[in-house]
Subunit: 370 residues, 2 copies
């Protein structure tokens, strides 16, 4: 018998830039020319059917014009495409087109495109680099920082995936103008969540400037784009030292994700989250972590943003309670919730512990009321 020690210690540098601005396709191409993707000359642009014409095609044209080889891979828009099947189809199409490991993937679109493309990049030939060009507020608010990529399975969302950091993220605020209002509101759901968990100032800014955000005023859009990044980044970075903090980003998601699945994706992610945020606000107030008034303020802001804060009638509430157990925070068969502490913070139940075990009866009580 002998033991062989494989020593594998290394410094990984996944540092990258997030550029926030208007119409960033020229910037993207000049970044490529300046070595953003190293010596790579072959690009696979992945997008969906809605984003193809207004944003992905022009980017392809510019990349081609700069002398690179580029192909466009398009899948049907919508959360249902964030699946193993779409992943396989794009991989096979790339393989057929002769893509090897010396390529770079560019995701152009919302969170579905960036989540799926980042996952494809992480496993294509055991990993190729990728770049995100985010065209929705939700992708800007959330998918751009943290490196989470995934697909959904019939049983739950984001179940299979990996952590994978892009080479760079572009947040094109100009693209928000063509977003359907429902999608813009869905992005505001995560934006308000960031304010709730990380900054009372930001919460007040949104209360005061919601109309300016919705009419795409520059100062307002830039404020939320930057603060979304800042808050999520702070949490994600601190989590490198203080494991567990990252769970605070899950605020509102225990009920939110379950509703999203049970609604069979009739509700958008942000709409489901909005109801989940209302649920956690009520729960936080019930447990004394915030006042009734503060919970009301949270729910009111979500309503003003055009988002639902009550569970739709077509949802089977008992099924919803069962679905809570597919949440990733469940430990030893017990539900765990992140809770809000006043406005702009979350509760730290014990050092480094931000998710509190909750009795099913309390969760059910709130779901039945909502």
């Amino acid at each position: 018998m002998s033991i062989f020690n494989v020593e594998l210690k290394k410094v990984v540098d996944d540092t990258y830039d997030i550029e926030i601005g208007y119409n960033l396709s020229d910037t993207l191409v000049s970044d490529l020319e300046n070595g953003l993707a190293g010596k790579i000359k072959k690009f696979a642009v992945i997008t969906d059917t809605n984003v193809r014409d207004p944003y992905a095609l022009p980017i392809c044209e510019k990349i081609k014009h700069a002398g690179y080889s580029v192909d466009l891979f398009v899948f049907p828009a919508g959360e249902k495409s964030k699946s193993r099947e779409t992943k396989a189809k794009i991989e096979d199409a790339m393989l057929k087109k002769g893509y090897r490991r010396d390529c770079c993937i560019i995701a152009v679109g919302g969170g579905v495109v960036t989540d799926l493309s980042g996952f494809i990049a992480g496993t294509y030939g055991r990993g190729v680099p990728f770049i995100n060009y985010a065209t929705t507020l939700l992708a800007a608010a959330d998918a751009s920082v943290g490196g989470k990529t995934a697909i959904d399975t019939p049983l739950a969302t984001n179940t299979i995936g990996l952590f994978n950091q892009p080479q760079k993220v572009y947040i094109d605020i100009a693209a928000w103008k063509t977003l359907p209002q429902r999608q813009m509101a869905s992005g505001m759901a995560e934006t308000i969540k960031h304010a709730c968990l990380g900054s009372e100032d930001m919460f007040e800014f949104i209360e005061e400037n919601l109309d300016d955000i919705y009419s795409f005023k520059k100062f307002a859009c830039e404020y939320i784009a930057e603060n979304n990044c800042r808050i999520k980044y702070n949490v994600v970075m601190k989590d490198e030292r203080e494991a567990g903090l990252r769970e605070t980003l899950n605020l509102g998601h225990t009920v939110g994700r379950a509703i999203e699945t049970v609604s069979d994706y009739k509700l958008l992610h942000g709409e489901a989250l909005s109801i989940g945020m209302a649920a956690q606000a009520l729960m936080s107030a019930r447990l004394g972590y915030m006042s009734e008034e503060q919970a009301e303020r949270v729910i009111k802001l979500y309503e003003r943003a055009g988002l639902p804060t009550r569970i739709p009638d077509y949802i089977d509430r008992e099924e919803l309670v069962k679905k809570l157990y597919t949440d990733k925070k469940v430990r030893d068969g017990k539900l765990r919730f992140v809770l809000q502490k006043g406005i702009g913070a979350t509760v730290e139940f014990a050092p480094g512990v931000y998710a509190k075990p909750i009795e099913e009866s309390l969760a059910r009580e709130i779901i039945m009321e909502l």
Copy 2:
């Protein structure tokens, strides 16, 4: 416009042990009790239909007996199972059984089981730990060091996957006795490859002790198990500094992998590799990197080990030439081969470059002869 810098630098410590010995299931369980998988109490044992009864079930029983929760996930034996479909089925079965991120996967079997399980572990809930219990010589010789995991797609083998290091690897030499002779020989193909690329001493040892290996003499089996690890480890570790060296492990694989696919897996990986090793030996001799006699010695040892060294008649040689272009070493549409330099070394064509661009005409010439 504003730029936000996400700083992500960290030290990753993926150090792990490979334990080489006989009947290591008790060692595995006592390692778990001593914290090998941290606080994890839930284990998913993945295996195939051949390995289930003799090795995986007893391991499950022992893990259960030690007070842990454990389930067995079994797929049909064979390379055809190293697919997206098997990956999805096992993931869904794990999800249905309530597996979350607080679990550990234990792969019990050959390279198909360890490759597939390591890939599943890398993407299940964005990553859970895994342990390899290798029951074939091929898995011991090769899959145990390096952290490569993957599945095959209809277009080529090992196309989709990731680098993922296990918590520990067990190499159970006792398990080799129940291996069909064809499988044992297939493992010898990688073993002889290691000798060819890394150690003339090892090559001579195998020439002298082949019968003792095939009759499972302890000194002979331990020698090859240890030297396989040592050679592969040296290459993989040096590659951390000297990118490109890892390509030397690809010796024989350009033609080997193509034959494996074109034969529709009628040939085992090692059998296909054996023919690929013959091809590269002839090519190396033709280009003056080894003598005709040395090439003969390589081919002869493969033959003595009971392996094919000629392309079977049912293989369409023109299709095979085309298939070479699906090789991962192809750059800018050009074939690249790793070549042997005498016995025990490979050719370094330029500093850090171990794969040489080869004209299709030369590759075709050798394929037509073989």
